[in-house]
Symmetry: D2
Subunit: 315 residues, 4 copies
């Protein structure tokens, strides 16, 4: 990640602000506010605003349940209770806003989370930066042979080199032609004063999907956790997981109690089907149960045993 002089100045200006407020604050998050946290080769996330903290969740829950919540002595106890029982609306009372720089093919996955507010840099109006994502060699994975959406071993040697060369050359060539079509370079200089360039909204179609874009992305805490649960998961594509993991750190700084409950009940937890419950119960009671009797497919059986780390029961 390389920031321009203007960006560095903007961040410094933002960080040097010191305002007084009667609102609740999140002191650990304040420390990293506006900071650009590097992701991948040219990307970043920055927390640029937030609203509320753990106490806001407790406050909202107590208005809902009224005197009914007095029995739960501690804020942590109440937040854990809410998380466990999917009493989700109090978590909507907090809000966070990120500034994110990310490759377009990742932006396309990300935007499928609809319950968020977004302002993206528009290539109809402005020229995109000359920055493309090129995977580090340890992430240059082969297609998994047994999982349609997964990755297998890392490519090596000549094949790896060829892939990286292609990605680099194609991105540079298409970007170069993008500039030619626009009759304008990424730094704003005109190429041929006697020509008018192609409309920006058209020229952008020549760019490859690893070109970086950026946006402001704002969501509430509940929907942030829904996002992180899916995108910080092992099944998520590495490139979006890299963002999600950095965001998990910001979650911890923002709402540490909620973060703890989230890691225990959601990220670290699992779901068990009605049939699965029956099997677990029998296993605990020392009964033997075969996959045939279980009513599960082989795949489902293995998912269940993996969830409880029962490696000797894998088939």
């Amino acid at each position: 990640m390389k920031l321009t002089k203007e960006q560095l100045q903007e961040i410094e200006d933002q960080q040097s602000q010191s305002n007084n407020t009667k609102r609740v604050t999140a002191p650990e998050l304040e420390k990293i506010l506006y900071e650009a946290i590097p992701i991948l080769d040219h990307g970043f996330i920055r927390v640029v605003d937030y609203m509320g903290n753990d106490s806001s969740i407790v406050q909202a829950a107590r208005v809902s349940y009224g005197k009914g919540t007095k029995k739960v002595n501690t804020d942590a106890g109440l937040i854990k209770y809410l998380m466990r029982h999917w009493h989700s609306t109090p978590f909507e009372m907090c809000e966070i806003k990120y500034h994110v720089k990310l490759p377009i093919f990742i932006a396309r996955q990300w935007i499928r989370h609809r319950t968020a507010n977004v302002n993206e840099y528009s290539a109809r109006y402005s020229i995109l930066d000359k920055e493309f994502y090129l995977p580090a060699s340890e992430h240059l994975a082969a297609q998994s042979q047994n999982n349609r959406q997964g990755r297998g071993d890392v490519l090596e040697g000549e094949q790896a080199k060829k892939v990286l060369d292609s990605l680099k050359n194609d991105a540079e060539r298409t970007y170069g032609n993008y500039e030619q079509m626009l009759n304008e370079r990424y730094d704003g200089t005109v190429i041929d004063e006697n020509k008018i360039g192609l409309a920006r909204e058209l020229a952008r179609m020549n760019l490859t999907l690893n070109t970086y874009t950026q946006w402001y992305w704002k969501t509430d805490l509940l929907n942030l956790m829904n996002f992180l649960r899916l995108r910080a998961d092992d099944h998520a594509q590495y490139e979006i997981r890299a963002y999600a993991e950095a965001m998990l750190d910001t979650l911890k700084k923002w709402v540490p109690i909620t973060y703890g409950a989230f890691m225990d009940y959601r990220v670290g937890g699992t779901e068990v089907s009605a049939k699965g419950k029956n099997i677990i119960q029998k296993l605990i009671n020392g009964e033997n149960i075969s996959i045939e009797q279980s009513g599960l497919s082989k795949r489902e059986w293995n998912e269940l045993m993996t969830a409880f780390d029962l490696k000797d029961k894998l088939i």
Copy 2:
């Protein structure tokens, strides 16, 4: 509006906070943060948190349009442009949270605005306060004779007195029976130590719709404006309009530039249909146009003439 000692103490505690933040603030809104603004006879609104100010809208718009926005010199010019052209997403970058006390029949209208986060006091868990809305005599309007959802003249004399007596007596009697069913009074004292009361989730059904409830209600600035446009309008029921008008004041303190654009383009503006445009154009050009030629119904014609305050053209 009468606040309990505990509520007054809570507000004082909240207002005496003074935290440091690097976030942007809205100084005029800070001045009234947490304050209970009285609405109707027992209701209130309180701004209890917010995120962003006018500058957040500008910041988001500038990320979208990039260098494309440099030509618009001022923040006010940009915000007006966004409002006029329904470039609505930058307005979603600000968020506000209210604590509201309101009669249930108004809460039922309000909740139809779905793009908001809500935590309502739950009568499944706790006993509702003994407070009912009784209209002031100047709001005790008769059914309009020509508008199915409107109000006509104010009721007077004996009829008004009878209505108010009924509302008061019925609310008090049903609330009294609610306490009897619960075997518990609103202040928490048990009525008969030898009995267990009816489940709260059932007893509440005996209350009348003018009983007050309360909630935390959080929304973004765009959806707040959608709410206010409909609910601060003349066609809205007076009781919800009273809330919307107080919220307009908080909008002004929060985002004064946006407030100005909103009043000009939305609240004070009007929409004209294709047929209507044609008529307006002819009128400007000094042509005569009759309602028959216009293609409008009488009702539509009058709505158009009223919108432009052309009283002599009403039919």
Copy 3:
């Protein structure tokens, strides 16, 4: 449930339609289309329209995963896979619309599900029917002593009679005064020709929360399942559960394969936290684990043991 002559005629007219369509259909659901299924004392649900069936989910999933789904041989296998792995968007491709008659205090719970389309009978425009919910004696439960939102034993004898009398009398009295305020009876007859009644939007506030209202409620299959998961659950209030259970039947007729997967993975399933997984694993491996070592609260421990029906491990 008593339907008016007009309603019966409307249902008969709707049911006697026979249209040709190239759209997919759900034959079992067609059989009960428009039928009023009675709920509580005066309520009902009616399926009045739908879009798609199990095959629509499969079709959408196959477009997403392309050739990647060819390995999953059967539609049932694919739908189960989607359900298990929270690949939820294909379930949004089906839509259903209900006509529901329900007490206002239940409507207030129901409306909190925001991802739905609603048109409710408006008491600003029209007079509400003279119908109130009175619980059957077996549902007249006392407040639970150990669960703030639960029900305990059923009330009996004199106390039960008194509660029912209060509910009935209060509803009738407030409705009678509602008519007086309106100067109009529920059947449309004017009470005093020389008077104009109170505005409907005001008079309605005198009604009790057990008064019935009605609405059209439309949602997609994913959000319907979210609704049913919460509202057909044991922790839901009986009165809304009565609706949810009838809707589960319609789900079965509409999308039988999805219904099966939903019952297995969602309704009959459970969630286990990270700590809970650890405990289950130890129990299966025959290790002893005490609540102290588990890191769980007593309440959480018991919830876990109950989920797996391990009664001898309850504390």
Copy 4:
């Protein structure tokens, strides 16, 4: 647009269905159901399912307003009234589902409409088709010189040829390298049996933004109209407008009465600000008003005059 044999067969199979239903139908829409309507060079839209018709809107409105709607004699009158007064919820009672093939850079604009259900072909699982959008020469517009997001004159001669060549060559080269990285051609044949290709989720990043993708897209009638209002507008990019215009035709076949009201009040209509109303009123009354007195900027003044086709008043 060239469909594969399999696609043609699928469409024929779907169109030859003839099912009986008690649901309401839209006969004109049934005629084109499943048909692939060509858009741009390789794209299409197909209506693949729908729910409701004009009568569903009327039905929902009449449940809301009850006897209050009896005065509006005709369905058309009621629908026009609803449209004019932004009584928008009855329009949510209809639903439509499209199958769309479109270039990725257009898909990125389209997806910003969040209130819709989407299943997109996933390039994590499957190989994208070898099809790229190349603008017809009459759409190869230069960047507008006075509008940051607009198009100017069409490029001609050598410059046009060069742009088209670049677009074509870059798309073909990057697609070719995509196949090399995958070690698999678009038709599924393996390139080198001794190698495993790069993971699909990575290789896709080498494609250009004019590559075609496809999705199922489902929305309700209200949100469809919001989409069409923005995307069939002159300010929309030509490429998305081409889709929106074809969808307008399907709207007309589906809900002809709503279509008429939509064209009159939304598409053909305009909004006038508070200041604008004042100016229009003065112009009608024959008063002179200068731009200085108006309080409008030059740009805003010209927008107002253009809206009412008052060309002699442009500045």
